[in-house]
Each structure stands twice: as structure tokens, then as C-alpha cells.
Symmetry: C2
Subunit: 220 residues, 2 copies
Amino acid sequence: MTKKSNSEIAYQKLKDQILENELAAGYQATEEDVARQLGMSRTPTHEALVRLQSEGLVEIRPRHGMRVLPVSIDDMREIYEILTSLESLAAGEIARKGLPEADLQALSDAVSDMDTALQADDLVAWAAADKRFHGLLVSCHGNTRVQTLVNNFMDQSHRCRMLTLKLRPRPDKSNADHAAVLDAIRRGDAEAARKIHHQHREKSAALLIELLETLGLKQL
Amino acid sequence: MTKKSNSEIAYQKLKDQILENELAAGYQATEEDVARQLGMSRTPTHEALVRLQSEGLVEIRPRHGMRVLPVSIDDMREIYEILTSLESLAAGEIARKGLPEADLQALSDAVSDMDTALQADDLVAWAAADKRFHGLLVSCHGNTRVQTLVNNFMDQSHRCRMLTLKLRPRPDKSNADHAAVLDAIRRGDAEAARKIHHQHREKSAALLIELLETLGLKQL
DNA sequence: TCAATAGTTAATGTATACGTTAATTCATAC
DNA sequence: GTATGAATTAACGTATACATTAACTATTGA
């Protein structure tokens, strides 16, 4: 098998640490420090940081080191606006063209898993299944660029979703929405699939942002 | 003033050369060759290539050198689907919230310039004004991520648009569409702005793709 | 006390040497 | 003639030394 390069390792480790909040937003360090922490030289470290910067997770400020970017409420507004637009595009299109049974089954499984998780009050599992559903939606659509973008914005907003997960009301309505989207897809009703998913994402966004505002969390 | 780094210079030069088709799609070279051509070492060259890869303009194939990515018909389908979605989002939103007179004027100027260019049969000037209109639409909306994405996808499809510019019918209808979008924005009719722009982009895409298919241009 | 400036320094940008890897070539056996 | 595998080699990955730059600091003059 082909060996992973150090820069790839650096990229994945750093990304993991950022998404899991082990490297908190606002964390700042020089490239050399990061390199030392990773046990490699600055060269592959720098390359990883450049990639993470292009994904909006860190910022490289010449002479000040890299900084893990916090996510503001406005960032979340931007991100959710895009997720809403692209995902509902995907939902509509897959309803229009129809989906092989295997894909429908995968979507259906994700919805079931969300229900199961919710009944068990396992919010982390619920979030994972929810994420899977959204990921399937765009991967079934087949536009690879949409897929990449949605994955990227899900990453950018991951920490925020995880943080608010336990602070928000139980997402029962969310599960119902997903089931309704899936139903519209099965019926081949593109307009309904698009609209329902659109409203679903808008509601999620509004909820999240209101929560952040209520809690006075400007940055996280 | 703060001096530009070599990697920045490399990035811009390479990007220019690719967009202007001086480095044709399919062009392949080792990092060392590219570096020599740019008059610098591999380090900044590599960094520039990584950036260009993240923007979808080149591909880095270990042990084979970098390659200027051709754009296929399917790529154009993907790109225009996203542009359609994000730009009509922007059109709708700016109609909804209203725009300061200066912004309206800038949009109006772009429309006028398109008309003038078309009357003078100056297709290159027309394309520039058209691009400006689309750019203004998203910059007025204010979602910086949408702006970045739209700019990036406009870049990815730039060569293709330039190539087909002289092969397509005169874009009279296109100008009328833009005027109609602007009118809807002025009236504050979000739904109309969104819909008209959506149809406009879908028509452009269909035209472009049909043209590519007719000409049998699978890659460019 | 404040502002301007020159010197200091920390951090990154860059070049380069070297190690590593995988594509290719060539020899050999069948 | 073909398939296998070892040797070759071209290209990149990595570490590191050095150059460069802009932030910082301390000094000086007002």
C-alpha cells in the first residue's frame, strides 16, 4: 500500500484536533511549535496549514503564527445559507431523477438511526446519523463539487453544532422533516423535496442562531 | 508597502497563464520545470500548485508532475448548477433586503456596458461586463463565502466561456435577462429576481453545454 | 510624556541537499 | 514471446540552513 506522507498526517491530525475542539478556537502557535508538536519539520506542517486555511479552519498570519479560526454567528449565517441552498438543490434533483433502491435504503437507514438515537436520548449518535443523512443527500445527487462544498461547510460548522447539541430542544421535528424529504424523494416530487428540505435547513439555522444569540456566544 | 512573496507571484502568474490558456489544459510538467520557468525554487512553486489544486485548476500527480486540468462537459454541468443556485440565492436576497443607490447604479452600469459592447460587436467587452454583473450580484449580497465560491467557479469555467464566446449566438436575450433581474431587485420583488436569474443561468448553461456537445468538445 | 526612528529579533520565506518512493527498464526464466 | 522480479532512476517529500521581513523595543529628541 502507498504510504501516507507526513503532510497528509499533519493535515488529518490537525483537522481532527480542531474539529474535536482539542485545539480550541483562538489557539495560536508558530509553525515551528506546531511542527514540534507533530514531530516533524516545518515543511509538511506548513503545507497542512495552507490546506486548512483554504478550508477556513485556520488562519495563517505572517509573523504571528497560525490561529484556529473561531466561528462567529455571522459565519454560521453564511454557512447555513449555503448549506440550505446546495442541499435543497440536491434533494430536488434526486427526487426528479429517481434513486436506485440501495440509495433509498441508505437514506432510510439514516432516518431510522436518527429515530433510534433520539429514543435512546443519545444526542451524539443522533448528530452522527443526521450528518450522514445530509451527506447521503449530496453524494446521491452526484455533483462532486457540491459534495465537496457541503462536506467542507459541515466541517466548518461542526464545533458549533456539537456545542449547541445539548442546549437545544430535542430535535423531534427534525426527524419528521427528514422522513418527509425522503418520502417526497420516493414519490419523485422534486418540488416538495426541495421545499421541505429548504424549510428544514432554514429552521435549523434559525434555531441555532437564536440559541447562540440568547447565550450571548459571539464566537466559538 | 508589504512585499509580495514568491509563492504569491507564482500563484498569480500560473493562474493567469492557465485562465488565458497560455498553459493549455493537459499541459504537464514537473515541479522543477515549473519552478525553473518561474525563476524560483521548488518550495514557493509547490505552494502555489497546492493552492491551484485546491481551486480545481491543476492536479498534482505524485511522480508525474502537475497537470493543467481540462474542463469536461460534466464539469461544466456541475459548475453551472452551483453558479445557478448561489447566484439566484444572492439575487433574491438583495431584492428582499434592498440595495443602496450606489450598488444599484453599479449593477445598472454593468447592464449598460453589456448593451454598449453588444452594439459594438465587442464580445470580449461584453463578457467582461457580464462577469462584472454576476460578480456584483454576489458581492452586494454580502455572504463572503458565496462570493469566494462564485469567483472560484467563474475562474474554473473561464476558459470554456471564452472559447465558446464567438461560437454562440449573439447574447441579446442575456442582456434583457439582466435588465429584468435588476428591475425586480429595484422593485424589491425577491421571488421574481430569484426566478428570473435562475432561468437565466439555466438557459446559459443549456446553451453552453449544447454547443459543446454539438462541437464534440469533450474536454477543453 | 510622546513621537519618531533605528536597531533587534522572532518568525516566516526560500533554496537546497538528501532521503524515499514508485514508475520504468531490463534481464532472466519459463 | 511473455511474465516475473530486480535494478535503475526520475520525481517528489522532508529537513535544514540561511535570507528576509515586519513586529517590537528602546532610545532620542522635542
